[in-house]
Symmetry: C2
Amino acid sequence: MENRRPLILISNDDSVDAKGIYTLADCCPEDADIIIVAPDTQQSGKSSALTVGAPLRITAHPDHGNARVFSVSGTPVDCVKLALHAIVPRKPDLILAGINHGSNSGCNVIYSGTMGAVIEGCNEGIVSCGFSILQHSPDPDFSMCAPYVRSMIARLLAEGLPEGVCLNVNMPARVAPQGVRVCRAARGYWTEEYRKYTDPSGNPFFWLTGRFVNLEREAVDTDEYWLDNKYIAVVPVMVDYTAHGSIDALAERFNTAAE
Amino acid sequence: MENRRPLILISNDDSVDAKGIYTLADCCPEDADIIIVAPDTQQSGKSSALTVGAPLRITAHPDHGNARVFSVSGTPVDCVKLALHAIVPRKPDLILAGINHGSNSGCNVIYSGTMGAVIEGCNEGIVSCGFSILQHSPDPDFSMCAPYVRSMIARLLAEGLPEGVCLNVNMPARVAPQGVRVCRAARGYWTEEYRKYTDPSGNPFFWLTGRFVNLEREAVDTDEYWLDNKYIAVVPVMVDYTAHGSIDALAERFNTAAE
């Protein structure tokens, strides 16, 4: 190969201004080429949304150490797609997203813009991994998690991941992690989701709030369990959403000839 | 039960102005209570995005037949969440989305706002199904698919779905369907995704375009295969994204004690 330095593409959903993305870049090996392509505005909760029917712009920013830095006027998926199309000089060896300021455990993976970027990378056939810390503040303390992030990135570069599988890594905040556990996402949902207000004209409006309900409080093999016990929880995520195990039973019910 | 009429909540991503959502309402049984809650603007490609840190408004519209109609100033997921929180009088028996003007087959399920609404419903424990037709125009001809949609809705109300599984139904356009086939989504990705332009000031911008690459052209059990053969393709979709089959192998590699 002409160029044996690994290329790492990094995105997030907290924007190019977030501390977490630069911490993530600092956890990459020194012999890697690093390109950061992040949204120019906060994109939390954007899932795998992409921009349809509107233009996207790319803006170059000053380097961070040896990492090149760009922002895109769109979603995390837009960042990955446009980076692959127009920014990176070759196919990346690894796509990382985060470090997200706040949890993406449990059912949050459905809504996470961080994991939207990761799922996009995985669907493109690239080893992809998202990192989040359970501290929703502008200035989380990443120091106690950083050695684990560094170690996982080195391992991902060396060993890759199974085809069609990416990782959702959530890390406890304000504590030295007890270790790492690969596990499944806890099933759950959000409840009491909106606060109702009345505007000065007397018209109602609603604002998202609510809290996560873990439907599996007794389970000892979920990300929520391991995070409660101060472990880093690593959930392997499938990009194939087909419920293969249900096809035969549903085919018996729904398959028809022409009506 | 005090009220035995089934309640059906209908949303989409093409907005409250789209023809497809009213066609879908017209395919529901006459003895059902129907509530339409749709985005007030086009939300194609919004996936499971939700609105964080901004207000949402609900607007009432004139009834469509016996269906009540509302719009929400957000995404398809916002519509379902806010409908369940503030609009429906009781938990719906069924959540439908569509009929989408355009395909959601193959990897489009990742980005589809239609399927975002369906996955949200499924995660709330409600039987949920999305319908799409392979005609991306403001005025698709739904007439040849309507009998199938009507039949599937009746069956979903009568029989439900396996827990944690929802349906992604794609229908051929401009042809009498040959029948219905339950199948898996074809693996694939989008290519040549952006066209590059130069604005009047000489600055570049990018616009999403591209075409779907089916990585499984030879397969005879995918949604793309059945749609090519003029069948209605029904893909069961899992809300649980955990790659359960990869947990043990990855645990051997990544599990650690404290570092």
